[in-house]
């Protein structure tokens, strides 16, 4: 198995090489005539006003938080999924299923909470306007 991971490592090195060789060859043969107008950012012909590094909607942040929680759930579910059949064969299937259920339920409560709070609605209702 270690040899297999070694293969992957060689492959990764090759991929990095491939990407940068592509960029480098392009560097050699393409023209380079910079000018101020070319350097401005593209906004469909309008003069750009200010930088684009602005504050962004907090929704994206909440989605990222939710993602991390559920991604950990997936990471923990993979091992159970792999040994599940084996456990069933050994007669411990109920235990495995119960473990999956308990684990999923805890996270489902979290999802239900976020759902009821309205954080999954992209257009969130504020204050008394909501339910």
């Amino acid at each position: 198995m270690l040899f297999q991971f070694g293969n992957v490592l060689v492959f990764i090195a090759l991929a990095v090489g491939f990407v940068f060789i592509n960029l480098f060859i392009g560097q050699l043969i393409r023209p380079s005539v910079p000018s101020t107008m070319k350097g401005t950012s593209y906004e469909c012909g309008e003069e750009p006003v200010g930088s684009a590094w602005l504050n962004f909607n907090i929704r994206f942040y909440i989605i990222a938080l939710l993602f991390i929680i559920f991604d950990v759930e997936i990471a923990f579910m993979f091992p159970i999924g792999v040994v599940f059949k084996q456990w069933v064969a050994e007669g411990r299937g109920m235990i495995a299923l119960a473990e999956i259920l308990v684990f999923a339920l805890i996270l489902l409560f979290g999802l239900a909470y976020v759902w009821i709070k309205g954080d999954l609605e992209w257009v969130k209702k504020l204050g008394n306007q909501g339910k």
Binding site: M1, Q4, F5, N7, V8, V10, F11, I12, L14, A15, F18, V19, N22, L23, I25, G26, Q27, I29, R30, P31, P34, K38, G39, T40, S41, Y42, E43, P48, S51, A52, L54, N57, F60, I63, A64, F70, D71, I74, M77, F78, G81, V82, V83, F84, K85, V88, A89, G93, M94, A96, L97, L101, A104, L108, L111, W115, L120, E121, W122, V123
Partner: protein
């Protein structure tokens, strides 16, 4: 000897995928043209040979290599260059664990496999590597210092992480059926009979996985990050020349990988319908060694399955309209995620009751 084989595989397997990219681009142009009742690209020619528009890809390569590369003045240079490199790298590396044919036991007892590395965590490897592409898109959107790119990057990253969860959970059900995370084991477990393939054993997981992989590759109906009619091209609006080409190739390579993974997980991978590996070896003609014949047929069938899913990508793009952003989020979190969890539960109970 083993080292030589590895070296050959390292060189040949990525070539297969890289050669599928222009084919897919050509397919996209031609199929979209015929769907819209046009002819599609047919002008570029080398010495009068047009190959039905395939030459256009060569013209594209020459053009992209020789165009001037413009980096906007306000951009963060380092991340601006890093972003397309990450996307191409990710799509390139994910192919390492995809099996192209059944393994062969050599005379000296060694096992020769038609994949770069038969990792026992193959599926996890693919999910882990492909989720790295979020970095590329986020970095591209942020480092361009362009408002369209920024919006596109935010949308894309938020969409990709949302659908990644569904993708991962859909795969858990497959893992439970196969009892292994190695792609080769999953393919072998499905057997040569089409109605034993996971598409029929796990139809719900199939649709969830397919929809999630469309969202992951930012394709219609989930192409909001690019949305050419609202935010021009999203995160890669400032990219030109070879950096744009890397984005372009990376996206299409991601589609090829997604097709290959879908084919392996749900459509029996290298399994030839109705013919097991042993049956194929018996049927081999005289001029070919039986193992080579079986591997060749299996690899061909697998490529056909990949091409079918590639075609599906294009077909869906020219059939379905784009979602609205709140619909996209609701669909991902409030419909697909509970459904994926439900599918795992049903699979678990089913495995428990039907031994």
């Amino acid at each position: 000897m083993e080292l030589l084989i590895t070296l050959l595989k390292v060189l040949i397997i990525p070539m297969l995928v890289i050669n599928l990219i222009p084919l897919l681009i050509w397919m996209e142009r031609k199929v979209s043209a015929y769907i819209q009742d046009r002819r599609g690209p047919n002008r570029a020619a080398i010495l009068g040979v047009r190959l039905g528009g395939l030459i256009h890809n060569i013209a594209d390569v020459i053009k992209l290599f020789t165009k001037e590369d413009i980096v906007p003045a306000g951009a963060n240079k380092f991340y601006f260059i890093l972003a397309p490199a990450i996307l191409m790298f990710v799509s390139f590396v994910a192919v390492a664990v995809i099996p192209f044919a059944d393994t062969i036991t050599l005379n000296d007892g060694n096992i020769f496999s038609f994949q770069l590395a038969d990792l026992n965590v193959g599926l996890l490897y693919i999910l882990a590597i492909s989720s790295l592409s979020v970095y590329s898109i986020l970095l591209a959107g942020w480092s361009s210092n362009n408002k369209y790119a920024f919006l596109g990057g935010l949308r894309a990253s938020s969409q990709m992480i949302s659908y990644e969860i569904t993708m991962g959970l859909a795969v858990v059900a497959i893992l439970m059926l196969a009892g292994s995370a190695s792609l080769n084991d999953i393919v072998r477990d499905q057997g040569p009979l089409p109605w034993h393939w996971n598409i029929f054993r796990q139809p719900l997981a199939f649709f969830l996985f397919l929809a999630a992989s469309y969202a992951e590759t930012n394709r219609t109906p989930f192409d909001l990050p690019e949305g050419e009619s609202e935010i021009v091209a999203g995160y890669h609006v400032e990219y030109s020349s070879m950096k744009f080409a890397l984005f372009f190739m990376g996206e299409y390579a991601a589609m090829v990988i997604a097709s290959a993974v879908t084919a392996s997980l749900f459509l029996g991978g290298w399994q030839v319908p109705f013919f097991s590996t042993e049956a194929l070896r018996v049927l081999a003609p005289d001029f070919l060694p039986p193992v080579a014949f079986a591997a060749l047929v299996q690899a061909t069938v697998f490529l056909a399955k990949i091409l079918f899913f590639c075609f599906l990508f294009v077909w869906v793009r020219w059939t379905l309209p784009r979602f609205r952003y709140d619909q996209l989020m609701r669909f991902g979190w409030q419909f697909m995620l509970p459904l994926a969890l439900f599918n795992i539960l049903v699979t678990g109970v089913w495995l428990l009751i039907v031994p």
